[in-house]
């Protein structure tokens, strides 16, 4: 049987295999508690559009707007994080590293501006910036990353988690933007910049202390700990479109290489659950 047909069959029988939300009811079932509140407060626009199946003609305007506002929320998180880190005297130890973080922080700020203007050009309203608690304490200021702005290793760990989450979050919406023309291209152009950032942060961590952290995500290893498990959930996957990548076609491709060769997606509810502790709900 032709593998193209197999993929199409999976898609037909199980839309969830595409990592897209498969029904509005399921989404709201998953979005219980605080994550649900974020969905409703931070993403008021075009939310319903996210649950429409992408048509061949491309996503509806409301779908596109919903995804852009979702992306904007994540970019606010990253931009705010780097802005804070760069402002703390002595946190980033060397000029080289400061400049690298500055490059990343500048890109995140540019993404915020780009998404805001794109949303407006589509007739939408950009969501406003939430108040963040970068310790992941949901407003307590004393979460698992309590030393995020006093300990450089913790700062880099949070940066890595944010970047890898961002990469997975954008990727998770690609299917819903299929046929989306310039909007899809723009999302992809941001997505690969986030991946460059993630690679750089991982290299910086590797140089500092964590020699086993690779520029790419090997299995679901983060070098951070269980607190970020959700960010790396299912990254150890080696089955792509039903094809086993380990040892594919007789080549010596290890489990580690097979997992690292493909980044995985995160759905919107998964991402919202990850960022919830970083958002202060009033």
């Amino acid at each position: 049987m032709n593998l193209l047909d197999v993929i199409n069959e999976i898609e037909t029988q199980d839309p969830a295999a595409m990592d897209q939300p498969n029904s509005r009811r399921d989404i709201f079932k998953q979005l219980s508690g605080a994550a649900g509140k974020i969905a409703l407060t931070a993403l008021p626009l075009g939310l319903s559009g996210l649950f429409q199946k992408a048509q061949a003609a491309g996503p509806s305007t409301s779908t596109t707007l919903g995804i852009l506002n979702y992306a904007l929320t994540l970019e606010y998180l990253e931009a705010g994080f780097y802005k804070m880190g760069l402002s703390v005297q002595g946190l980033i130890p060397t000029t080289q590293e400061f400049d690298a973080i500055l490059t990343i922080g500048t890109h995140e700020k540019e993404h915020v501006a780009f998404l805001q203007s794109t949303i407006k050009s589509l007739g939408g309203t950009p969501v406003s910036e939430p108040t963040f608690d970068f310790t992941a304490g949901a407003g307590s200021g004393n979460g698992p990353f309590a030393t995020v702005f006093s300990d450089y290793a913790t700062f880099l760990a949070v940066a890595q988690a944010f970047e890898d989450t961002g990469v997975r979050a954008y990727k998770g919406q690609a299917g819903a933007l299929a046929g989306g023309g310039a909007y899809l291209t723009a999302a992809l152009d941001i997505h690969s910049v986030e991946a460059r950032h993630a690679s750089m942060i991982r290299q910086m961590r590797n140089e500092r202390a964590f020699a086993d952290v690779t520029p790419w995500i090997t299995l679901n290893y983060s070098g951070i700990g269980a607190v970020v498990d959700a960010t790396y959930a299912a990254e150890q996957n080696t089955l792509q479109a039903g094809i086993q990548i380990v040892g594919i076609n007789g080549y010596d491709i290890s489990y580690e290489a097979a997992s690292a060769a493909f980044d995985e997606t995160l759905t919107m509810p998964q991402v919202l659950a990850i960022v919830t502790p970083f958002i202060v709900t009033s």
Partner: protein
């Protein structure tokens, strides 16, 4: 039908990563694949799609149309990258560090995984094995190797970014997304080996914070010097 390197053949595929043939053998093997291309093109005449991917006269290889064409386009680029890193590691450049050797081997394996993934997905619609032309690369020189790697990775990122809007299947689009971010991770790593802080510099990222995207026509022009055959992308979707 016999291919020099068809899936499952007991050649390169059966050998451990660090015990593969010498570069000379590799080039010999690579040179044979031109014949394979001709053979496969002939076989493909039995196909039902028009145009037939992989068909064409002489050195020209038609990538095909629709999503199949885009997958063949990706397959071609992954073939190029995989062949390059395979050659790099068969005879590493002077004074390669253990760190670089380890990570370049990782990248090689990722590119082989991508190549074989597309070969498998495409099945009988796959274009034949391409013959790389690395005559412009000095494999004993670190800068030459890493600069070429940077070109391939940045080009790969821009190719996937530009191809996304040409893919009609949401499933394939997501799969392309799973690969492009790994290419971007590679690009950032290679760039850092050449120059600290260049992982996402202004030569690839715009003032709006956007990475580069290129059309297939632009990419095929960039990679043409590295491939013996001519890739014909004239039937690929353009919007």
């Amino acid at each position: 039908m016999e291919l020099t390197n068809s899936p499952g053949r007991p050649d390169l595929a059966q050998q451990p990563a660090f015990a593969r043939p010498s570069r000379r053998n590799f080039l010999k093997y690579a040179g044979l694949s031109g014949l394979a291309a001709t053979a496969l093109a002939a076989c493909n005449k039995l196909g039902t799609t028009t145009p037939v991917p992989g068909s064409g006269t002489g050195k020209s290889i038609n990538l095909g149309s629709g999503d199949t064409g885009i997958l063949n386009y990706a397959f071609a680029l992954e073939q190029l990258e995989a062949a390059f890193y395979t050659a790099v590691l068969l005879d590493p450049y002077t004074n390669i560090s253990p760190f670089e050797a380890l990570y370049l081997a990782d990248i090689r394996d990722h590119e082989i995984a991508h190549r074989e993934f597309f070969r498998t997905v495409l099945g009988t619609n796959a274009i034949p094995n391409l013959t790389p032309n690395f005559s412009s690369v000095n494999f004993s020189d670190r800068t030459s190797v890493l600069t070429t790697a940077k070109t391939f990775e940045d080009t790969g990122v821009s190719a996937y970014n530009g191809a996304g809007s040409l893919i009609s299947s949401a499933t394939y689009l997501t799969l392309a997304g799973k690969i492009v971010s790994v290419e971007a991770r590679h690009a950032a790593f290679i760039r850092e080996q050449l120059s600290y802080g260049s992982f996402a510099d202004s030569t690839v990222v715009s003032a709006q914070g956007l990475d580069t995207s290129r059309t297939p026509a632009q990419v095929l022009t960039l990679v043409a010097p590295f491939i013996v055959q001519t890739l014909d992308g004239s039937n690929l979707p353009t919007s």
